[in-house]
């Protein structure tokens, strides 16, 4: 794609190409006064097709019809495609029993109740940092593989690659392989062409629809939503997002394809800064391949390169580039050119891996006959390898110690304290108890840090009889309480300073676990 000048310097103006005229301006050689360059030599009224002022500022899209490749990496790509698509389409249908009060979908993003269900895990909206942690893990993993082997993500696992691959497969199934597709593209609009193109686009749309459908299943109970979608009772946002994702899947996978990777996606630009001379990148081994050229039967291989210039590497390329031009930003490193070239090498009896995963260092050394072993452990990969388990450990620690009970204590600021008629002082607090468990729990509230004994502070909770067995909080629920602490006059004068530290202790009566929150008790200036 746009790597050699002749794909860019297009001679045609828009109107000419629309009319399908030949690549040259009309020749009006015939006579006329003053049309002679020299006596007897006619001057042609013609201009260079690529004259600077005739070049378009805008590049035409050149259709790419990748040929089917066979080999290790193609098989690997099929495998990854099967796995990723399988995970994507099947996951919303997996069930997970969480009891009667909660959804039984294994992976569910429940916007209505602000919960993220992931198997046994249940993440509340305010705990979204666990998802942030997952994203950090994912990006570190991405950094690591990119430092080790370049754009592995782009070549194998990126949804853009996977769906494009799937759509090309459909295209190949309906229209045939590259040559048939090229012929079909050039052929006039026959019934056969209309049928084949129509069928291709229809299947694409169907896949896109299923893809969009699978996406919305992550947000609402899949079997219910599937039923609602069919009988027209699903919420309108479900249809909206179904439409949006159908449209984007069809457009990006079916129509835009490599244009997404080249012009829209920022990640390839970032990746350029992530691999180095030690990274294994899909490379053409010029030291072995050059000088290239056609090879005749019984001709010796001495003094020439192994590349027979068959261009198999170009025709299988999903972004339409020539890997032999060196590393370039369009290359998604899908390694299909390796498969294509190896097939040819086998056929002509030359060693495999003329195109292979190799490092810049090794390629350079090989020019002079040397070789550099692959260096997996280098500062940047070691850093990623250390950070990855560190972040994982941190997250696991956080998750294991995650409390099913969350307590917040807010001290009243207006008024800071209340003077009572007996000379005592009272402070007000709002205590919020969040019970993340799936059963009702009863909690006891006590305090530590203020004087005990006769001068013990009194705890009053609004709306709660002092005789009540405790504070009951419904499953998956928050209860806010107004709590008043009153200290008798004698105890107040024994406090030092204007504020005394104290701790609220919330005890779960079921298992005795305690949660503590520090705050203070304020009094007038002594």
């Amino acid at each position: 794609m746009a790597t050699s000048p002749d794909t860019y310097i297009t001679p045609r103006t828009a109107s000419e190409s629309a009319a399908g005229s030949p690549a040259q301006a009309p020749d009006e050689a015939a006579g006329g006064p003053g049309r002679e360059a020299a006596p007897g030599v006619a001057r042609h009224d013609v201009r260079a097709v690529n004259a600077k002022d005739q070049r378009s500022l805008y590049a035409d899209r050149i259709a790419i019809h990748p040929k089917r490749a066979h080999g290790t990496f193609r098989n690997l790509k099929w495998l990854v495609m099967g796995l990723t698509l399988g995970v994507y389409y099947i996951t919303p249908w997996l069930r997970w029993d969480r009891g009667p009060a909660l959804p039984d979908q294994a992976v569910l993003i429940d916007f209505e109740h602000q919960r993220l269900f992931f198997g046994p895990m249940e993440i509340w909206a305010q705990e979204f940092y666990y998802v942030t942690g997952l994203l950090i893990l994912a990006s570190l993993a991405l950094f690591l593989v990119t430092a080790l082997a370049g754009r592995v993500w782009c070549g194998y696992a990126c949804p853009q690659t996977v769906w494009t691959d799937l759509f090309v497969m459909v295209e190949r199934f309906v229209q045939g392989d590259r040559n048939a597709r090229l012929r079909l593209q050039k052929s006039p609009w026959t019934a056969d062409k209309i049928w084949k193109l129509g069928a291709t686009h229809a299947i694409w749309l169907l896949i896109a629809l299923v893809t969009g459908g699978a996406f919305i299943f992550y947000f609402r109970d899949a079997p219910t939503l599937a039923q609602e979608l069919f009988n027209g009772t699903a919420p309108y946002v479900a249809y909206l997002f179904l439409g949006v994702f159908t449209f984007t899947t069809y457009t990006l996978g079916g129509l835009a394809r490599e244009q997404v990777c080249i012009y829209m996606c920022p990640w390839p630009r970032i990746q350029g800064a992530m691999y180095d001379d030690h990274s294994l990148l899909v490379s053409y081994r010029a030291y072995r391949g050059e000088p290239r050229g056609a090879h005749k039967k019984d001709e010796t291989w001495e003094g020439r390169g192994d590349c027979i210039d068959c261009k198999q590497c170009v025709v299988v390329c999903p972004v339409g580039i020539d890997i032999r031009d060196g590393p370039q930003l369009e290359c998604i490193q899908c390694a299909l050119c390796i498969d294509a070239c190896n097939e040819i090498m086998d056929k002509i009896g030359r060693p495999r891996n003329l195109i292979a995963y190799d490092t810049f260092h090794n390629l350079k050394a090989a020019e002079t006959g040397g070789s550099v072993p692959v260096k997996i452990f280098r500062p940047r990969t070691i850093l990623y390898m250390v950070l990855l388990p560190a972040v994982l450990a941190l997250m696991t620690y956080g998750w294991v110690n995650r409390s099913e009970l969350q307590v917040n204590v807010l001290r009243d600021r207006n008024p800071l304290f209340v003077r009572l008629s007996d000379g005592g002082i009272r402070n007000g607090y709002t205590v919020k108890i969040l019970n993340k468990r799936h059963d009702t729990r009863t909690y006891k509230l006590s305090i530590e840090g203020l004087p005990d004994g006769a001068a013990k502070p009194r705890i009053d909770i609004v709306g709660l009889e002092s005789a009540a067995p405790g504070i009951a909080v419904a499953p998956d629920n928050l209860r806010a309480l107004r709590v008043y602490l009153s200290l008798p006059a004698a105890a107040v004068s024994s406090l030092e300073g204007e504020a005394a530290d104290l701790t609220f202790v919330v005890t779960d009566t079921a298992d005795g676990s305690q949660t503590r929150r520090n705050t203070n008790f304020r009094r007038p200036q002594p």
């Binding site: 244009q259 600021r413 008024p415 209340v418 009572l420 209860r479 006059a489």
Partner: protein, 290 residues
């Protein structure tokens, strides 16, 4: 910069002439055509948007768009929907006794939230945002009540006000012992010392003893023999630690001279029943409710 423009030999493209870090250059590649078409499509989209939605400001109005969309109308709908969602709680509060509201956690929460909002709108100018009060305006957080601190008493005070024009208002006037020359200045001074002595703050014991006689004659009818006050008459308790008009002797002398007599308007003419009930529950829950 422009002189750095050159044809890149590897790709055959012209460079833009921009150079960074000595040798980092930029190819001047053509834009893909689809990109241009997307630009045109967004322009058309924008025109469609102008037609359908409010877009252009005019001198005194704006183009309202074919769909007639208005964020204001959306907000009003949401407010109406919010009110409708509150209706069941408001109905329940309207029917319930005040004590019942306190015993039902969901009603209590609703009443506290509604009471807090209503308090901020109507009561805070005098009593303060935290109901902390100020000189002459009682602190509603404490446990000292002039007219009673149980739910019914609080509700009645809110409903009918204090020394207001309402027929059922709380009324109880302290005579203006100084202004109306009911007592001599020296007597007033003695009574003030006696009142201070009730909470152990007197500085002149002799004057306090002299004042006790004057107190027994003029004040006990309302404030009681011990000075404990009388909720029925709104006569404040004089022996506790809370003073509405200040603890200095001059404050007390002024109280005796002028009789004070703060005023609170009746609220049943301005607030509906449900709001008054919410306010009563809220004030009761501020900490001093009895």
């Amino acid at each position: 910069m422009a002189d750095k423009k050159r044809i890149d030999e590897v790709t055959g493209f012209e460079t833009t002439g921009h150079v960074w870090d000595d040798d980092l250059e930029e190819l001047n590649k053509p834009l893909p055509k689809w990109w241009l078409y997307v630009l045109y499509a967004s322009i058309i989209w924008a025109i469609g948007y102008w037609v359908l939605y409010p877009a252009w400001p005019l001198a005194s109005d704006y183009t309202r768009g074919y769909l007639g969309y208005s964020q204001r109308a959306v907000v009003m709908e949401q407010v109406a929907a919010g009110k409708a969602a509150q209706a069941q709680f408001r109905d329940a509060i309207g029917k319930a006794e005040l004590a019942e509201i306190q015993n039902k956690p969901d009603l209590l929460n609703f009443a506290l939230a509604g009471g807090k909002a209503a308090f901020g709108d109507n009561c805070a100018p005098c009593h303060g945002r935290g109901a902390e009060g100020s000189m002459g305006y009682p602190n509603l957080n404490d446990d000292d009540w002039i007219w009673g601190g149980d739910l019914a008493a609080i509700e009645r005070t809110i409903r009918h006000g204090i020394r207001s024009a309402d027929a059922d208002t709380r009324a109880g006037d302290m005579p203006k012992f100084g202004t109306d020359k009911l007592l001599e200045p020296a007597q007033i001074d003695d009574v003030a010392e006696h009142v201070l002595s009730l909470s152990g703050k007197a500085s002149d014991q002799e004057a306090a003893i002299r004042g006790a006689a004057v107190f027994a004659e003029n004040c006990t009818a309302c404030h009681g023999e011990t000075g404990k006050g009388n909720l029925e008459l709104g006569a404040p308790n004089l022996i506790d630690g809370i003073w509405l008009y200040g603890t200095d002797k001059t404050d007390i002398v002024t109280s005796i001279e002028t009789g004070r007599g703060g005023v609170m308007p009746p609220w049943h003419t301005r607030l509906d029943d449900v709001t008054i009930k919410q306010l009563a529950v809220y004030v009761h829950a501020l900490g001093g409710g009895q």
